[in-house]
Each structure stands twice: as C-alpha cells, then as structure tokens.
C-alpha cells in the first residue's frame, strides 16, 4: 500500500514538474520580444555563457580532432585508404561529435552556472524582491539568459567542429604524413553542405534550446536552500546530458536515413 502510494506521489510530482517546465518555457518565449528591445542584457549573458565556455570548447575540440586523426589513420591505413582521413574526421565531427560533445560540455560549464546563479537568486530572495518592485524576473533575468544560451550553442559547436578538423589535419598531415591536398579534397568531395553541415547546425540549435531550457528551469524551480541549489545544479547536468544524448539519437534517425 505504501509502495503504491509513493509511486502515485512520484508520478504526480513528475507530471507537475513537466507542466511547470512547459508553462515556464511559454513565459520565457512570450518574453523574448522584451529581450530584443533591451538586447544589452543578453549580450552580457552571452559573455558568461558563451565566451567563458570558449576555452574548454576549443581545447576539447582540438584534442577530439587530434584523436580522431590518430585513430582514423590507424584503421584506414590497413586498407590503404588513409587519403580518406579528412572525410572521416569531418563527417564524424559535423554530424555527431561537434554538436553532441559541445552540448555536453555546454551543459557542464554553462548550464550548471546558469542553474546555480538563478537558484541562488531565488534562495537569497532576489527574484522575490524584483517582483516586489514590479520587475518581472522572467523578462529581466531568465529570458536574456535563455536567448544567450540559445544563440551561443550553434557558434560554440561550429568552433568545436572547425578546430577539430584542424586538429585532425595537424596530426594526420603534420605527424602521420597524409597528403594535405588529399585530406581536404576527400573532405570536400564527401561532405555535403546541406546534408551534413546544415544538419549539424540544426542539431546544435536544438541542443542549445533544450540545455538552456533545462538549466534555467531547474534554477527557477530549485528548493531555495543551499542543498536545493546544489541538487538543482546536479539535476541540470544529468538531465541535460541525457536529453542531449536521447535527442541526438532521434535527430540522427530523422536526418540521416
């Protein structure tokens, strides 16, 4: 009986959370015009969400590209196909690794920061104080952060992919001796702008939307205590990563059949 009751309670809780998240998203989207009017608010957030995430994105992208170059070369050289190295590196990065790894890093670096910041604002009653002054916290605090995350993700993913391809070139051409012309030609013949590059960008836009949504919602929905904020931060990283991986499977099966 007790187990049944707790199952019911859990179900009601999660349905309520989904409902709150959806309503919250609706409020954010309604407030996007006010962000466009005061775009400087979003610019400051692009700094903390995008620019401060740059370093980890660039370093990870470089190393992922270098590892792809190394592993791809070791496999391809057995078939005498090392001239396709550029294609292997570019396709893996534009289609999958670029958007997905960027989104995971973005959730860890920027998403957790967003949740902690908003959660602390709630815990220290700054959001309540804003409401007292008739300032809508959603339009003043949440929506600019949402827009910033949504705008930053595709740019970060593009930078990750570009520097990864360069990293693959660095290892493949510089160290392992693949011909530079073959590296680029194989890539240019095999990568399609719409099928591969554009679909990767669409993926990164979707991931940016979902990760930022989860991050600001968890922050806004956090229990206003130190423990509540820390839990909310953890939930952001876990849920956003799971959402990215799950959505990636769905998007891949829709895009590349």
């Amino acid at each position: 009986m007790n187990a049944l009751q707790s199952l019911g309670g859990w179900t009601l809780d999660s349905v309520q959370r989904w409902g709150r998240a959806a309503v919250f998203l609706g409020q954010i989207l309604l407030n996007i015009p006010s962000v466009i009017v005061r775009f400087r608010l979003a610019v400051v957030q692009v700094f903390s969400v995008g620019v401060l995430t740059l370093i980890i994105i660039l370093v990870s992208g470089l190393f992922v590209g270098m590892v792809l170059g190394l592993q791809g070369y070791n496999t391809l050289v057995d078939f005498g196909a090392e001239s396709s190295l550029g294609l292997v590196v570019a396709l893996s990065l534009t289609r999958e690794l670029g958007p997905v790894l960027t989104a995971l890093l973005f959730a860890g670096r920027a998403g957790s920061a967003l949740t902690a910041e908003i959660g602390l604002m709630k815990a220290t009653e700054q959001l309540a104080a804003m409401e007292m002054m008739a300032v809508d916290p959603v339009s003043r605090v949440i929506a600019p952060r949402f827009v910033a995350g949504f705008l930053s993700m595709p740019l970060l993913a593009a930078l990750f992919t570009a520097i990864g391809i360069w990293g693959g070139h660095l290892v493949g051409v510089g160290v392992l001796g693949v011909d530079s012309g073959q590296y680029w030609t194989a890539m240019q013949n095999g990568v399609d702008v719409y099928d591969d590059v554009l679909n990767g960008v669409i993926k990164s836009v979707v991931f940016g939307f979902v990760v930022t949504w989860i991050a600001v919602f968890e922050g806004h929905d956090a229990t206003p205590t130190s423990e509540g904020v820390s839990r909310a931060t953890t939930r952001t990283v876990v849920n956003a990563s799971l959402a990215v991986l799950g959505l990636d499977f769905v998007l891949t099966s829709l895009m590349f059949d």
């Binding site: 610019v43 400051v44 692009v46 700094f47 995008g50 620019v51 740059l54 570019a90 534009t94 930053s152 595709p154 740019l155 970060l156 593009a158 930078l159 992919t161 570009a162 520097i163 391809i165 680029w184 890539m187 240019q188 013949n189 990568v191 399609d192 702008v193 591969d196 590059v197 990767g200 960008v201």
Partner: protein
C-alpha cells in the same frame, strides 16, 4: 569587468563563431567549389549499374563535369535508367557519346565516365546516351573465371 570589454569579447566570439560556420560551409562542405548548379539532364540505359548511387560523379577524361541525379528501372525492358546532370558549360558533347560505369581504384566508389563520339549534333536536355557499358561486377567475373578454370581442367 567593464561593460565595453565584455561587449568586445562578445563581438569577437560572435565573429569567430560565424567565421567557423563559414569555414564549415565553404572549406569543408565546399559550397562554392565544384557544386554544379546550372545543368542539363540526359539519360543512359544500362544492363547493370553495379554499386552506382545517386550523386556519384560524371567525368569526362577524368574531369568531373556533372553528377548522377537519379536512378530508376525502365519497366518495359527491365534495364536501369540513369539520369545524368551535366554542367551547362559542357554542352558540346556529341550525340554518339558513350557512357560507362567505372570504379575508382579496385574497390573504390563507382562513377560514370563519358567518352565523346564524333557526331555533328550535340546532346541536349532530355536526350539519351545510346552507347553504354555496364558496371563490371567483380563476383560475376570471378565466377566466370573459376568456371573457365574448372572447364579447362577436364
């Protein structure tokens, strides 16, 4: 940090991101380069197209002049109909041009090679290439070879 510094960084970030997107589109995806837009379509009938697929290159003397835009079956004579989109720059291919399905290297991807004939008239949109050579299917060739060996042993 001062507001102007923050804005400068954001500006740099946006420019760098857009440049990366541009690199992906033009350098990696080759948006500008060999993508052929202005084309005319001709068809060619083959007995067997092997592993030819849509978007495979069409080459003349090794130079890419177009791509395979569609593959279907002619249900009247059960032959494969391959539609080739050829760049309008190369609109002086003679009417008796031949097309054959070739393989890049021994195991590479398949493509269509065209060999110009000597006719006075040129191929135009909708014409059909009459002289074709099908793909060489490695298994069939091996089969024939082994069969021939076995016959010879008797």
């Amino acid at each position: 940090m001062k507001r102007s510094v923050i804005e400068l960084w954001v500006g740099l970030f946006v420019v760098a991101g857009l440049v990366a997107l541009g690199v992906l589109a033009f350098k990696v995806g080759n948006l500008s380069g060999t993508d052929i837009r202005d084309t005319y379509a001709v068809t060619a009938h083959f007995d067997n197209i092997g592993g030819l697929s849509a978007k495979a290159p069409v080459t003349l003397a090794g130079v890419r002049i177009g791509r395979v835009s569609g593959i279907k079956i002619d249900s009247d004579n059960y032959r494969a109909v391959v539609e080739l989109s050829i760049d309008r720059k190369y609109d002086n291919l003679p009417l008796d041009t031949s097309a054959s399905i070739l393989t890049q290297g021994l195991l590479g991807a398949q493509y269509v090679g065209v060999e110009p004939g000597a006719d006075e008239e040129y191929l135009k949109n909708g014409s059909q290439i009459e002289i074709t050579q099908s793909a060489i299917v490695l298994e069939q060739m091996l089969g024939q070879f082994l069969f021939g060996q076995a016959q010879g042993d008797k």
